[in-house]
């Protein structure tokens, strides 16, 4: 059985490779490609993450950097940002070299640099 450490590294490496090879923009017959900003942030509110992430949040990746859109006002967005970062930590995604971008409906942008460490959670975290 793989250790959690090696499993984490493998997951992050595999996902990173997939993102690296994915196109950055455009659409296909099967929906928008990932990692694009072709639609206003507010449209992501309805996305497939409903029920999976903190309500109303989409995660995107731009040019190798992770970015998060928040279809909320700036006050709510700041609060959700904290929740989202905490959530992503639990997913073991490598955030250490990422620039996090917060975009509100008012197009306010807030850049946050981070050197956060990656938290662990048990595999059955979502058992319920």
């Amino acid at each position: 059985m793989a250790t959690i450490d090696s499993l984490e590294r493998d997951i992050v490496s595999d996902l990173q490779s997939a993102f690296d090879q994915a196109p950055l923009a455009g659409h296909t017959r099967f929906g928008r490609k990932s990692k694009i900003w072709s639609r206003p942030a507010v449209q992501f509110r309805k996305g497939l993450f409903q029920g999976c992430l903190v309500d109303g949040i989409r995660e995107l990746q731009l040019d190798g950097e992770l970015a998060y859109t928040f279809p909320t006002n700036s006050v709510q967005g700041g609060h959700i940002l904290e929740q989202q970062l905490e959530y992503l930590h639990t997913l073991h995604l490598d955030l250490q070299t990422c620039r996090r971008t917060y975009v509100s409906q008012q197009s306010q942008t807030l850049n946050i640099s981070s050197t956060s460490t990656i938290a662990r959670f048990p595999p059955n975290f979502y058992a319920d």
Partner: protein
């Protein structure tokens, strides 16, 4: 939901394709129900990041394949426990057999042209035994003025003539419970009116089985179609004008 399709989930070496798996919760349930199941997920890559992580951590000893590019797609290893195919590669999928295709609460949220492409995938490209859909359908009039909702599916999942309908139900009780007591405020606002009443026709559950093309019966299809049209016209209220194409 797993109980609805348990006849296929419980089969040995059953192959399942889920379109839009979200976090991967249903895939996890399916694998726990039947460890021999082979599960393929098609999704946006940014969502696959979640389901891939979630399922690998839940099943650390299972075999996974994350498809990175077209070359890997051409050599798809369907013997893996879990296979993940990003949506931008789906148009290159070749004819593949799946015992069951599942979609819940995502086709109804896609633009109709994208829904049609997925239905073409299910009905023409792939060889599918059964299809289970649980989706909002028929774009509600109240969404007409919502800028971010106006491009959502109008008639949702168009089925061709070679399916046998196994079951269908408006908003099954387990969905009603979720809509009333669970889910987000945003989801509830779509299904529950100002008076607190649940729009029980907002969701349609379908479970259909593929009939061999050799058994296609155009005359019979026409008769069934006319019969269903008569029933449809008998409904007092239609949710919108986009109920047929």
């Amino acid at each position: 939901m797993s109980q609805r399709v348990d006849d296929f989930l419980s089969r040995q070496q059953s192959s399942v394709l889920e379109i839009g798996a979200g976090l991967g919760g249903f895939a996890r349930v399916a694998k726990l129900r039947n460890p021999s199941i082979r599960y393929v997920i098609v999704d946006l890559l940014d969502t696959i990041a979640l389901s891939y992580t979630f399922l690998r951590l839940n099943f650390p000893d299972a075999r996974f394949m994350l498809v990175h590019n077209r070359a890997e797609l051409a050599e798809l290893d369907l013997s893996a426990d879990f296979v993940f195919i990003p949506a931008h590669l789906v148009e290159d999928i070749e004819r593949t057999h799946f015992d069951l295709v599942i979609n819940s609460f995502s086709l109804g949220e896609m633009p109709q042209a994208v829904v049609d492409s997925y239905m073409d995938l299910i009905q023409e490209t792939l060889e599918v035994n059964r299809f289970y859909s649980l989706n909002r359908y028929l774009q509600h009039e109240k969404f007409a003025d919502w800028a971010d909702e106006s491009d959502q599916a109008s008639y949702s999942t168009p089925l061709d003539s070679t399916w046998n309908l196994l079951s269908w139900e408006f908003c099954p009780p387990f969905v009603q419970r979720h809509l009333v007591s669970g889910g987000s405020k945003w989801i509830r606002s779509q299904y529950i009116g100002a008076g607190g009443e649940l729009d029980s026709t907002a969701t349609l559950e379908l479970y259909v089985e593929r009939r061999p093309y050799s058994q296609d019966d155009p005359d019979g299809n026409r008769a069934r179609s006319d019969e269903l049209l008569d029933k449809a016209l008998g409904f007092g209220t239609l949710r919108g004008a986009k109920w047929h194409r």
